[in-house]
């Protein structure tokens, strides 16, 4: 029983680490050619790094027919766009100061982050 309990606690620690503490690698976006694919409940890449003070255009390609994936919100930039299915949609980001800008679907089930540095 002790082993089971320890395994349970380890599982909880793993959940906390995996979903909240782990810092995944960011994709550096330098040109206006990055396509974020919306598929199977995720944005790929979901973590983007862009240079501060430079406007950039991201393209979102939605391949997920679920209506949840239809709306893209970047609350920090007051951007809300409807993503057409199987077509790219350009999202123009203005020159931004350093900081983190989250993007997600309406229900926050699809999540991503733009780090400006």
């Amino acid at each position: 029983m002790l082993f089971v309990n320890l395994a349970g606690v380890a599982l909880i620690v793993l959940i906390v680490w995996w979903f909240w503490l782990y810092k995944p690698q960011e994709k550096v976006v330098s040109e206006n050619d990055t396509v974020v694919t919306v598929e199977s409940g995720t944005y790929t890449p979901s973590r983007l790094q862009v240079a501060a003070g430079r406007p950039i255009t991201l393209a979102f390609l939605r391949r997920d027919p679920s209506p949840c994936s239809e709306v893209l919100l970047i609350p920090g930039l007051e951007i809300s766009e409807t993503l057409p299915l199987n077509k790219r949609k350009s999202i123009k980001l203005p020159a931004l100061p350093a900081g983190e800008y989250e993007f997600h679907c309406q229900m926050q089930m699809y999540q991503g982050k733009i780090t400006v540095s």
């Binding site: 089971v4 995720t42 309406q106 999540q111």
Partner: protein, 774 residues
């Protein structure tokens, strides 16, 4: 190489493969008009320079910049789109004006995609329930779901394989989504469903394959739960998809206003062209009964245009040469020719659609807590499931393993982040759409929420309560004088003046078909009025002082003039050869429904305050007439914002209503700024809420819709919170120690599937909302 890279590479090698719609952002800048064109046939990077230089050679082009990835080119300058397209064609490519994707096409595509997805979900649901329902019935009628004999092992193994087939066919999207999310260090609804159903299936397979690892009491299989949950959740998703479709009916109606074709006149020939081929300055013909295809200015003809679909104003508006016409409105009577002044995404209709769509996707602050919870929800539920299983294993009755598995599975399945996430956006979608149908454009969710809390409404007088256009209201002629004759003389005298009051008199004469003649020896007497000679007669027009100065006998007309002033009118004396001919009173008439609309606001407990730059007497007269108890007169435009601030200091949530131009500072500082649109000439970006028709009923409508929407959001949030807050502990088995009740995972699956549907259905109730009759 990532998927994205692959896509881009493919696009680069396939001419015209990427017809991604670019946003047409045609607007005035320092370099002139900005137009965006879509290029076809550009297959390599070197095409960029060729296209750009071809465009730069077109006279009037200030700059041209191509975005190769998007196959679009931005052109600044004054050149016609047709010349730009020709230059690109001469360079060996083809091009068309980017209207982005027409909203109509996008909607049709979306509906087709939704239908395909719906059918897929229903197919998957059917397959899952074909297995799940018989198993469920078997378990309900007392069939053993345990493994005790080898025969049972074989049968259940077969069932286990069939369940696996259901998981692959009907549930693979959950498992792929869960895996992708997991790799991405995120978790969503798929994660919970995949973990829940996966745990139930794996446990059952352990029971079937290696039963001796478990105590006899714990050898229970849960294949029916796996199949039923997958089936029910697919059913829930399908029904939710249908219900979601209804939430966007308002935007569909707006999009449906846009005609697909236009009849343009080019090279003296009339051509029927697709709407996205109409370019600036095209001359367009619209026959009676047809819709106006793009925004423009009438160059020939006269007609009545029905603008009710955009403004809510039922009366058709007369249009003739020089007047603006707006896309989506209907030409009721005559045939008109007009010049296209705004096309594609620049038309008022396209902008309204765009704004409503954006607003529908925005969230009011009330949804923020739900957002915070949603962000942490799934991992917290996963932890709860683990804790629940541990508690059952440590303290539960036998068979502890089976109880632990059931409780963990049920916790994972019952938790519904979707209901929480959908609670706010679905109501906002319907509420903002409903408002747009009533001619009320709400800029975002925050404005929607604040509008529901307004306690004080500040109204600008001119143009808001009144029409904003002074008109002749009374003509009191002296004995022996003819009304038309004196009005014609007065108009002749005033024709040279640009004073608004003078213009009202000239306009009044015009309306009666009276032509102004020519005046000589015109003399403006500051602070008094004007004097001139017409047809050998000396005319005087002005105030009492002017008349006294010239010894004009006024008699009983002084009292009449005072009475007119008390009615918020401006009386002016008109004398011919020093004999009083008439008093002409000019006033800015109060809009027909201002009184009723203000009463409506007041009956809703809103304090109504009027602001005006006019003198106190006029202000008081207007305020009395419309039933406003509080007013501030002689307020300079700059001081309006101070008045708003003062009200805010008193603790009021202040709405400010103005024309959106002079009142900009006050509109900006108010908690909610309402801009009154005149017809469809709306400054939709200038205020939090834009009323597309002039009526103040729009204010009461906007507030009523906001209140109804907020109330709907609260119901949804409350329901979603309570559902999860009660459902998760119930699933974990908190009732078991007291009542011996443990929720079945199948019930949890049904509850989860229908909780989202309930939220969407409740939001759809808002579609039935009707603002109070007025």
């Amino acid at each position: 190489m990532s998927t994205a890279d692959t896509d881009l590479d493919k696009a680069c090698h396939q001419p015209g493969a990427d017809s991604m719609p670019a946003q047409q952002e045609s607007h005035q800048s320092d370099d002139g008009i900005h137009q965006e064109l879509l290029i076809d046939g550009a297959s390599c990077g070197s095409c960029v320079a060729k296209i750009e230089s071809a465009l730069k050679r077109v006279p009037g082009v200030a700059s041209a910049e191509m975005n190769f990835a998007q196959r679009s080119v931005s052109v600044f300058g004054g050149a016609d789109a047709s010349e730009l397209i020709k230059a690109i064609e001469d360079a060996g490519y083809s091009a068309k004006v980017s209207t982005a994707e027409s909203a109509d096409d996008a909607l049709a595509e979306k509906e087709a995609a939704d239908l395909t997805y719906y059918r897929r979900l229903m197919r998957e649901m059917t397959m899952a329930l074909l297995l799940g329902v018989p198993l469920m019935i078997y378990s309900i009628v007392g069939g053993e779901m345990t493994v005790t004999t080898n025969t049972e092992r074989v049968v259940w193994l077969l069932v286990g394989v069939l369940t696996l087939a259901v998981m692959v066919f009907s549930g693979k999207h959950f498992y792929i989504g869960a895996w992708q999310s997991l790799k991405n260090h995120s978790a969503n609804m798929d994660t919970l469903i995949a973990l829940g159903t996966g745990t139930a299936w794996l446990y059952s397979m352990v029971v079937v394959l290696v039963p001796y690892l478990l105590p006899e009491m714990a050898r229970h299989v849960y294949f029916e739960a796996t199949a039923m949950i997958i089936g029910l959740i697919n059913l829930g998703l399908a029904l939710e998809l249908k219900a979601r479709g209804r939430t966007s009916e308002a935007i569909k109606r707006l999009i449906g206003l846009q005609p697909k074709m236009a009849r343009v006149i080019r090279d003296d020939k009339e051509l029927d062209v697709a709407i996205d081929e109409v370019v600036l300055n095209d001359v367009v013909r619209v026959r009676p009964g047809e819709k106006i295809p793009v925004d423009g200015e009438v160059v020939e003809g006269h007609s009545a245009i029905d603008e009710s679909m955009l403004t809510g104003e039922p009366m058709p508006v007369e249009k003739s040469e020089g007047d603006e016409v707006v896309a989506g409105t209907i030409n009721k009577s005559g045939s008109v020719l007009f010049k296209a002044t705004r096309v594609g995404k620049d038309t008022a209709l396209a902008q309204i659609i765009n704004m409503v769509k954006r607003a529908q996707n925005s969230k009011p602050p009330i949804g923020r807590l739900a957002d915070v919870i949603s962000a942490y929800f799934v991992p917290v539920v996963m932890i709860t499931a683990v804790v629940s299983a541990l508690v059952w294993l440590n303290f539960g009755p036998e068979p502890t393993v089976a109880f632990a598995i059931v409780s963990a599975t049920t916790v994972l399945i019952i938790a519904c982040p979707c209901a929480l996430g959908l609670a706010t956006p679905m109501s906002v979608m319907v509420g903002i759409g409903k408002a747009a149908e009533a001619g009320v454009l709400i800029r975002n969710g925050e404005a929607l929420q604040t509008a529901s809390k307004i306690t004080a409404m500040v109204l600008d007088k001119t143009g808001t309560i009144t029409l904003g256009a002074p008109k002749v209201t009374d003509i009191l002629v002296a004995d022996g004088q003819d009304e038309n004759t004196v009005l014609q003389l007065a108009a002749t005298l005033e024709a040279g003046s640009e004073h608004p009051l003078a213009m009202a008199i000239v306009e009044s004469a015009k309306e009666r078909g009276l032509d102004a003649g020519k005046a000589s020896n015109f003399n403006a007497i500051t602070g008094h009025g004007v004097q001139a000679d017409v047809q050998g007669k000396t005319l005087l027009f002005g105030n009492e002082k002017l008349m006294q100065k010239h010894g004009v006998e006024l008699g009983g007309f002084v009292a009449k003039a005072q009475a007119l002033a008390a009615e918020a009118k401006t009386p002016m004396y008109f004398a011919v050869d020093n004999q009083l001919a008439t008093i002409i009173a000019v006033a800015d008439p109060i809009k027909d429904d201002s009184i009723a609309a203000i009463k409506r606001l007041q009956s809703n407990g809103i304090r109504v305050i009027m602001l005006t730059g006019d003198n106190r007497d006029t202000a008081k007269a207007v305020a009395d007439k419309v039933g406003v108890k509080e007013f501030f007169a002689e307020v300079q435009p700059d001081d309006k914002s101070k008045k708003v601030q003062a009200l805010q200091m008193e603790g009021e949530v202040v709405g400010m209503t103005g024309d959106g131009i002079n009142d900009a500072p006050a509109l900006a500082i108010a908690d909610v700024g309402f801009a009154i649109g005149t017809g469809t000439d709306v400054a939709i970006e200038s205020a939090d809420i834009t009323l597309m028709r002039g009526s103040l009923h729009g204010l009461a409508d906007a507030i009523a819709i906001s209140k109804a929407t907020l109330s709907n959001i609260k119901q949804n949030l409350f329901g979603a919170f309570i559902y999860n807050a009660a459902g998760v502990p119930l699933a974990a088995g908190v009732l078991y120690p007291f009542f011996g009740v443990l929720l079945s995972p199948v019930i949890a699956g049904a509850a989860m599937a229908f909780s989202s549907l309930t939220v969407v259905t409740n939001a759809n109730r808002l579609r039935l909302f009707k603002a109070k009759e007025h």
